[in-house]
Subunit: 421 residues, 2 copies
């Protein structure tokens, strides 16, 4: 007797049954369509990457890679990581063909990403993400476009501006503001940014204490707190967005984690208080390709996860009720298995006309076969038995309208093709 | 100074730049369309699977899993494998919802699969595969359909019957033929099947010697050799295929490796002698869900790899010359960066009309911007400068026909929308 295996997927991953996959495909296809509308071209790469791609930024990164990613050593003694994010990969690809590519380039991808979460947190270990990036242009119009594109992606699902808010910040602007109140040390700026990144996870008292600790100067700490509450931003990016009718809120505490951001950073949040999560985020990174040598290539982009996207759609009731695009339109029902091959042959004729057709070869009773077709969301059924074959007169039943049409196969195929057009 | 990283992908994997991705997407979309035409619904799962899923069939399998797959232990002491094939995963999913699913079901997926090849062989460590499977029906019509579907997939790329040949075998039929010449020991049958699986890798003398070694009986060995050369197959599957006009060749030496096949097995081969490889293969497995407990559920399916598919298309010159579906249709060219935001705003109008539009924000000269657009395969460009904005008269250039049209933006958008329809 063999050991009985569990049918559960690996911890922190999901199975996509056809009904789940239909939703996932709807999200992916809408993502792809909008990115292509903005002139972005699709790319992809392997989920396996040399670990060095994530560790190159020093010991701190190396530790994070070992602790928070799937990293292992292969038999060739190469250290391999399942990609935790796509930006290092796309930077690698762009740097690898920098001489052949005609900049500016617009690229998008829908990769799956992996992170090694502690099980108790209950977060997923594998998720998908839309990544859109533009390379080779520093003009503020590209910052405006990438934010307009992110907004357009939400709009393409039927969202309205009231459903989300766009927060924006600028690393260079923050450096300038810090300089104006007397903070010039890059390490201190970095510590303040890291603190802001954790701001929502700690209470205000702790936040204030941390600022005092970083600055070791009460007056300076008060200036920083004042800045966080009252600073403003007015630049080419905010003006460009305003000219397109896109409202953004400046948030000097917006940090977006990644060290590699160098200019504009932004984040879209759900305005529904029941879904208090960031929907997407991104920013400009002007030095990321530098780790591959050569002159740095400017990049700006964003990432949007499938889980947060799905939560947003649910939160605003934007998910269409019927996302069963791949269900067959017609199911052919042989009365008995002896007519199965004949039914298959009839099915071929409907398929030639472009009609998604399945055949129920089981030995179930006709009534049972019909109820399975109904449950699957199929619109039409066609019964095949001795009389039908002998006379070439078939009955095409519409399960939705409960009407039917009788006729020769050719007639019914033509009728069904017209109905679909 | 940071260490300079390589821009190469991880060994045995591929980067898909937009031009490669366009080909890959063309293959995937054609696969998906044909599978859906036959009523198959898409599913997916994580690439991470518990290693037990592949090891459950005994020590021999366990060794193969350790040596030929990416298998590692996670921090929860779980052994994890990057899936080397999709069939165990789909069997797990079907078994997991056996009570809710209405059989028969038709499912397809386009998973990426991983194998740990020895580097010197030069084979890829990651590839994609179309997997189509039908569950819950044993009637021979399902065997016929799955072979008809595999053929239809090739036809949907423009292939003709002359470009491939279909070899078929049947494990149960072979057992009967072996029994008729006096071989009843299941272990011996298994050894002969395993030998046939290696047949193309050894010469005829070695093949004959191996048969003698397995049987330890010269006369029986001669009977087996005679059987391999002269046996025939005539059953419901071959008759059904013939009634659909699908020619197949019975090959008693066809083995298809996997132990889990129990009935019909088949393989499509390229008839072009320069591409001497199997294009796809599959078969019936009636016991695969049994490892999850409960009554076994019959399954039949096939897998078709992206690399072999691509080789087949190249071998028969079937790959369309222009597979650049995602390239923007229009590129807007601001004469100077000061017009970038205006150009972006104009771009939004074209996008609202469904036209894939990009804008060149770089500070390159107009001539250079046009030549980049030409290289990218873009059909139209629109120049934006002071005069155009002041007069609202723009020039839409068709780069393919070298014609142009002048007019207000609305007029040009309408014209371009009509051209596309």
């Amino acid at each position: 007797m063999e050991h009985i295996l569990s049918t559960e997927p690996y911890k922190g991953t999901r199975d996509f049954y056809p009904e789940d996959m239909a939703v996932q495909s709807y999200i992916f296809e809408t993502w792809a369509k909008t990115a292509e509308l903005y002139g972005y071209e699709r790319y992809d790469a392997s989920i396996l990457e040399p670990s060095l791609l994530y560790k190159s930024k020093g010991a701190e990164n190396a530790e994070m890679v070992n602790e928070q990613t799937y990293t292992f050593v292969d038999r060739g003694e190469r250290e391999v990581t399942l990609r935790p994010e796509m930006t290092p990969t796309v930077a690698r690809m762009v740097a690898g063909k920098r001489r052949e590519l005609s900049f500016p380039i617009r690229w998008y991808s829908i990769p799956n990403l992996f992170r090694y979460e502690r099980p108790q947190r209950g977060r997923l270990r594998e998720h998908w993400q839309l990544n859109c990036d533009m390379f080779g242009v520093q003009d503020s119009a590209s910052d405006v476009e990438i934010i307009a594109l992110a907004r357009a992606v939400l709009m393409s699902f039927g969202a309205t501006d009231a459903m989300f808010m766009i927060r924006i910040n600028d690393r260079k602007h923050m450096e300038k503001l810090y300089r104006e109140i007397g903070i010039t040390d890059a390490e201190i700026v970095r510590s303040l940014t890291q603190l802001n990144d954790r701001k929502n996870k700690i209470d205000h008292t702790e936040y204030v204490q941390n600022i005092e600790t970083i600055l070791q100067n009460h007056k300076l700490a008060e200036s920083v707190l004042h800045l966080m509450e009252h600073a403003t931003l007015e630049n080419d990016v905010t003006r460009g967005l305003r000219s397109l009718g896109i409202a953004v809120t400046f948030d000097p505490t917006l940090a977006r984690g990644f060290d590699y951001y160098t200019g504009t950073i932004f984040e879209f949040g759900d305005t529904n208080p029941e879904n208090n999560r960031s929907i997407l985020g991104g920013g400009r990174y002007d030095n990321l390709t530098a780790m591959f040598g050569g002159e740095p290539i400017s990049g700006i982009g964003f990432g949007m996860g499938d889980v947060t996207m799905h939560d947003f759609l649910i939160s605003h009731n934007l998910l269409p009720k019927e996302v069963t695009v791949t269900a067959p339109q017609l199911v052919i029902l042989p009365i008995e298995p002896v007519y199965n091959i004949q039914a298959l042959s009839i099915g071929e004729s409907f398929r030639k006309a472009g009609i998604r057709t399945a055949i129920d070869y089981s030995d179930k009773k006709i009534g049972k076969k019909i109820s399975i077709a109904v449950n699957r969301g199929t619109a039409y059924v066609l019964v095949v038995g001795e009389d039908e074959i002998a006379q070439n007169i078939y009955t095409l039943k519409n399960l939705h309208t409960e009407t039917e049409e009788k006729g020769a196969l050719d007639t019914l195929i033509t009728a069904l093709t017209k109905t679909r057009a």
